[in-house]
Amino acid sequence: MTTVAMAEKQVKMEERIVDIKNPVLSIQDLSIAYNKDKYAVKHVNADIKKNAITAIMGPSGCGKSTLLRAINRMHELYPDIVTEGKINLHDDDILKMSTIKLRRKIGMVFQRPNPFPTMSIYDNVIAGYKLNGIKLKRAERDEIVERSLRNVALWDEVKDSLMKKGTFLSGGQQQRLCIARALAFQPEVILLDEPTSALDPVATAKVEDLLVELKKDYTIVLVTHNMSQAARISDYSMFMYLGELVEYDKTKVMFTNPRDSRTEGYLTGKFG
């Protein structure tokens, strides 16, 4: 490769990286392999903007979940995982933090609603405190539960049945309960992995409205299999393909003027 070509490539690489001032999260040359030499995420660089929704798109198996789960180190639940590179939360290297503290700062919501079936709605919201053995006064607990449920617009629907099991709720309500559970610690960042893929359109719309509302107070990273969802609610979008971050830009820019032919192909429905 000539020096000119190398310089050109350099420019292209930099062009791809959106310029975000004071990012909450900074992902630097991150690579992750489940088995040795089989990388699911390859050399990803991305800064995540505060109080915005960043969507991660891409065809199934391209590494979206792996990348997302690395942000609060949930990917480490697989014992043989290899992680290279760095993720900073402000100026702290998350790979050097305790996972307990990290996960209180970066909450997570999963694909299928997963409230704890043995716990009441009330206990589900407060579960993070219970699990960590944090003792709270009754009044403090009540306040956290009410605040978190109001945050997800579930309070009015469940305030008279707080002691019922969370699993009695509808799917959409359960998912909002799970978001409330993640909000109870007042984290900085919320990660959501295809949170509406198990929900009907009405419930999906409610969760989408909720996320737009929540970005005032939280930074949101959302994996979605659904392009129109990304277009509707996200401010920034990533497109991943075969473990690589192919394109990362303001959502409006990416959807109107994709730079990479693979992004274009995905957005126009040629694959995925």
Partner: protein
């Protein structure tokens, strides 16, 4: 269509045969036990005197009911912490690791060892150790039997509760981890509450096994027809007294042994029934 009908009839016939066999068994147990109940009434269940001497024959099943319950409870008390820790080890802590699969196949292997082999080992190895420790002069007794029973039901209880622990959905564990829970907190606040009814059921089933276990206990319990006077005393269980005495029994004594068999059947059925109720209540 026709072959469908034939299949249905064959399946129905097979089920019917099994049903009739079971009913026949209960019927003949009841018929066999009638003489002893006629003679002693409910005293047969509650009397602790077992005296086959001709002329002053008296048959009470209490010593054997007591022996069965004491050895089985002892076994389950010893078994519980062992099986519980092992199942957590292979079902959660070292899930899918090489160590876990080795231990798990060892457990399955132990579950398949015939009762007589455990009995032999108990007789030639465990009994001398009990003697050595000065716990009982001959090494026979309730305590020795309880230990051997525990060893026999540990693999069974372990593999049952391991299966139940691994069945707790991964997404619930992940939810807990994502809230900053440690492994131990996940075990105690998510896995155990969710697996509770299954775990209780597996120990009840293991207890049911211990109740009817015969061979190894017969070799170790000391075969005395009295209510055990201490944890280290000798005794007999319902199963072991039948195994020991059915060969030379006739008349009223045979009826007494059959009566004990009937009682054992009832107690085991009761335990299973309670187990099922508990499962229903929790799930």
């Amino acid at each position: 269509m026709k072959s469908d009908k034939v299949t249905k009839q064959i399946l129905f016939a097979a089920s019917l045969i099994i049903l009739l066999t079971a009913a026949g068994m209960v019927f003949s147990l009841i018929m066999g036990a009638i003489p002893v109940f006629k003679e002693f009434g409910l005293g047969f269940v509650f009397s602790n005197e077992w005296d086959p001497t001709e002329g002053r024959e008296n048959y009470g099943a209490l010593p054997f009911i007591a022996g069965t319950l004491i050895t089985s409870i002892l076994a389950i008390v010893i078994c519980l912490p062992m099986a519980f820790s092992t199942s957590l080890f292979i079902g959660e802590y070292f899930r899918k690791s090489a160590v876990a699969s080795v231990i798990s196949s060892m457990v399955d292997l132990l579950a398949g060892v015939p009762s007589i082999v455990y009995g032999l080992w108990g007789f030639y190895t465990l009994r001398p150790i009990i003697m050595e420790l000065g716990l009982s002069p001959q090494g026979y007794g309730v305590f020795t039997s309880g230990i051997i029973l525990a060893i026999m039901i540990i693999p069974y209880a372990t593999s049952l509760s391991n299966e139940i622990i691994s069945m707790v959905p991964n997404e619930l564990k992940e939810a807990a981890y994502s809230l900053g829970a440690t492994r131990m907190e996940v075990v105690f606040t998510v896995i155990l509450p969710n697996a509770r009814s299954g775990i209780v059921a597996s120990y009840i089933l293991a207890f049911g096994r211990a109740l009817g276990e015969t061979m190894a206990v017969t070799m170790l319990i000391g075969n005395s027809n009295v209510v055990p006077d201490s944890l280290f005393g000798t005794g007999n269980t319902m199963a072991s007294v039948i195994a020991n005495q059915f060969g030379e029994a006739d008349g009223l004594k045979l009826s007494a042994l059959i009566g004990i068999g009937l009682l054992l059947f009832i107690i085991t059925a009761l335990v299973n029934w309670i187990g099922k109720i508990i499962i229903k209540k929790f799930s």
